[in-house]
Amino acid sequence: MHSFGYRLNGLLTFSVTILAVMCAMASLSDNLNTPSPSAEIQVTNINRFQKQPRGNDEVSLTMNISADLQTLFTWNTKQLFVFVAAEYKTPKNSLNQVSLWDAIIPSKEHAKFWIQTSNKYRFIDQGNNLRGKEFNLTLHWHAMPKTGKMFADKIVLTGYSFPEEYR
């Protein structure tokens, strides 16, 4: 009952249990945080708006993105993954979401930012429905913790639309 093996076994079981409890408590402490993020996106220019040979519309645009996401960080946050997606509806598809830009925010100091960028990923529709179409730009974030449950949410900004003609 008091051999080295039993003592080692007891010690290991206890330490693993304590570690698991600590991880669970760290994750639960994230629920105490009430975040209040804000964001603004302006489309400064539509660089290209063409129909590809395959028949799909393609858009290239430049945006100003400014956001303050500092309140989303807790002591248990490892990083915040942020991305901007365009959402719109077409006759064939009830929902289209196309990610235009993303970034990783490693710490609270970097969480208040302003950036001017063109879309990182090609914005290609399934079809040629984009002329004159209204779309929303949503800023999504995904909080990845040091341990435990991940949180995600978004801010929806409405009122953007594509030009009536190709250019």
């Binding site: 994750s27 006759p91 598809n93 289209n96 979401q97 196309v98």
Partner: protein, 180 residues
């Protein structure tokens, strides 16, 4: 020296009945682990409720050796979710983020494109030949939580199987020589 002497003595003094009862209790431990695993599969709705991150394509968020908890629900797949999917013909599941979603109005079926956070390009190169989009049946679950470093045990046991044999051998020895 005392430990080795005790071990040799106890191996010599094994009786059939004691051996059988130890085999039964070992079987009980294995089957209760199996029951817990299957129950987790039911609760989370996913074929493998826990996966180990094997590559660095989602760094710095998920590093090699982290484990992810998965959950699958009928909620529609949306951009930004971290999904685990199987490509036809590949047996190792991939954990990446959804960057494009096109959901059909009439059938509710969905075309999904994924990309690893740390990769420069999207996953079209990883999909099967000629496949441009993932569909719902490829996706095994969404990642909802994670624990760092715990998956290294699995990685070490897979990449250096000798350690697996040593561990099982040591466990077997422990079972045989315990007096319970």
């Amino acid at each position: 020296m005392g430990l080795i002497g005790d071990t040799v003595d106890s191996i010599k003094s094994i009786q059939t009945r004691q051996l059988l009862s130890q085999a039964v209790s070992l079987g009980m431990i294995v089957t209760s682990a199996l029951i817990i695993w299957k129950a987790l599969m039911c609760v989370t709705g996913s074929e493998s409720p826990v996966v180990v991150v094997l590559s660095g394509s989602m760094e710095p968020g998920f590093k090699r050796g982290d484990i992810l908890f998965l959950h699958m629900s009928n909620a529609p797949i949306r951009a930004g979710e971290i999904v685990v999917f199987n490509v036809d013909g590949r047996e190792i599941p991939i954990v990446h983020r959804v960057i494009k979603v096109h959901e059909r109005q009439d059938t509710g079926e969905v075309d999904v494109l994924t990309k690893g956070d740390n990769n420069n390009g999207d996953d079209r190169l990883l999909y099967a030949q000629g496949q441009q989009w993932l569909h719902r049946h490829h996706i095994m679950g969404r990642a909802v939580g994670f624990l760092p470093y715990v998956g290294w045990v699995t990685i070490i046991m897979t990449e250096k199987p000798i350690i697996k044999y040593i561990l099982i051998g040591a466990l077997g020895l422990l079972v045989i020589t315990s007096k319970d």
